[in-house]
């Protein structure tokens, strides 16, 4: 997990495919607890007893993250800068 993080930024500039992760960010005011994020980001996001997301590990696969952001019905998800 840690190995695919730090060197990624420098590789992006050289046009090499990146394996970097991006942090998933939940807008807590916008979130309505539909739980789509947890069904897509199964490793990183779980739901509390009321169905609101618990982000166990913010760093997610960028492709899966993009899907979660697109499918969130409350538009409560966004991806932060790669790390």
């Amino acid at each position: 997990m840690s190995a695919d993080r730090s060197p990624a930024g420098s590789r992006v500039g050289r046009g090499v495919p990146t394996t970097t992760t991006r942090p998933i960010v939940v807008d807590r005011v916008a979130c309505t607890g539909r739980g789509i994020c947890a069904s897509i980001l199964t490793e990183q996001v779980s739901l509390d007893e009321w169905g609101y997301p618990v982000v166990r590990t913010p760093q997610v696969d960028p492709e899966l993250g993009e899907i979660a952001v697109r499918l969130c019905p409350a538009r409560a998800l966004s991806l932060g800068v790669p790390s």
Binding site: D27, R28, V29, C31, D48, W50, Y52
Partner: protein
């Protein structure tokens, strides 16, 4: 001890940020509203963005009283401090309070704030000042740099400072950083106000500094009015020390850190042996549950759930599974709201479970040793 001689020694900060920020940095002034962030850093950012100024005189925390005290006794200096910080100044106070009336009578612009705990949170005040609701906002960028309102419209950069902080700014400008640093500790310099309430003879605001003993704090409030069992530190955003722990500690960040607490917004409330600490904590958490803005699910559902579990514990109807569920619910509150209210509530509840561990054990066994005088509570 003139202001200029101290100023002359400092050349490390950009002059564009303003000499006042340098002065405040020399003094080591930090926010007296609880977050203890460097006032100089906040001011530099505000000056760079020509920020509006909101003086927070809401006493929003449970047990707070010092903002009202500053407005009542030092309004001219408060005004002076605010005018040093920016050109457009508003003072925020709860609607219909004597504090609000004093601000208006003095000819200062008043921001009338509705009575709710989270109404006086930084982004709530800025939202309210921009014609929105007094509710915390999701912060895309810091409020001091101009965040966005609930509809996504950009708001003016705004510097929000606690009333005591602004009063201290005026004092530091007039008396100098050396005067300021002659009080308090190296880590927490300067005079501080503490609202002392609960089982004391004369509840009120005490002028003191970090490093004061709890005994001296209570003495300044007329002494104990009963037999103390615990000290509430910092209201709902703080937690608890037992009376025995308080005897061996001073009111300072260094000593309080051992218990996960801070000097915070300057609040000490004394609990005596006529009241069950768990029942008191449960009542406070029930109050907290009604103070959520109801915007974020984890807070809207989590805080009432924590209050309910604590209520069961206090009533002697909780078992080990309830306690385990309570700890789990507390653990899921932090970092999951637009503001830090759920974080504060989680810290308060966890601190109560720590300080009142013997009472927790007694209640699990169906016994309350305080209000029930050892009788079974179920």
């Amino acid at each position: 001890m003139t202001v200029t001689s101290t100023r002359a020694d400092r050349s490390t900060t950009p002059s564009s940020a303003g000499p006042l920020a340098d002065l405040l940095e020399s003094a080591g002034l930090t926010g007296r509203g609880g977050a203890a962030f460097s006032t100089a850093t906040k001011l530099r950012s505000a000056l760079a963005h020509d920020a509006d100024v909101i003086v927070n005189a809401c006493d929003g925390e449970v047990g707070a009283a010092k903002d009202a005290w500053v407005v009542e006794h030092h309004l001219d200096e408060l005004r002076r401090g605010a005018e040093l910080l920016g050109r457009r100044v508003t003072v925020a106070a709860h609607r219909g309070t004597p504090t609000a009336r004093r601000i208006t009578a003095a000819g200062l612009a008043l921001l009338e704030v509705p009575h709710r705990y989270v109404s006086s949170e930084e982004s709530s005040l800025v939202s309210l000042a921009h014609g929105g609701l007094a509710r915390p906002l999701t912060k895309s960028v810091p409020i001091s740099l101009g965040s966005k309102d609930a509809r996504g419209r950009r708001m003016r950069p705004t510097l929000v400072l606690n009333a005591e902080t602004v009063w201290r700014v005026a004092q530091i400008e007039a008396l100098g950083p050396d005067w300021f640093r002659s009080q308090g500790t190296l880590d927490e310099p300067g005079p501080r106000l503490v609202a002392v309430s609960g089982a004391v003879a004369r509840p009120g605001v005490v002028q003191t500094s970090a490093g004061v003993s709890f005994g001296d704090l209570v003495a300044a409030a007329g002494g104990f009015s009963g037999r103390p069992t615990a000290f509430g530190i910092g209201g709902l955003g703080g937690g608890w020390l037992t009376a025995a722990e308080a005897r061996g500690a001073t009111w300072s960040g260094g000593d309080l850190a051992a218990y996960g607490l801070r000097v915070g917004p300057g609040i000490v409330s004394v609990l005596d042996d006529t009241r069950c600490p768990l029942a008191h904590v449960a009542r406070t958490l029930t109050y907290a549950a009604g103070e959520s803005a109801g915007q974020c699910g984890p807070c809207m559902f989590g805080v009432p759930a924590v209050a309910e579990d604590m209520g069961r514990l206090a009533a002697g109807t909780a078992d080990r599974a309830t306690l385990q569920r309570l700890r789990g619910r507390i653990g899921l509150l932090p970092g999951r709201g637009a503001c830090r209210f759920p974080d504060g509530v989680a810290g308060y509840a966890a601190s109560a479970l720590r300080a009142f561990a013997p009472e927790v054990a007694a209640h699990l066994a169906g016994r309350c040793d305080v209000e029930g005088r050892g009788r079974r509570v179920r």
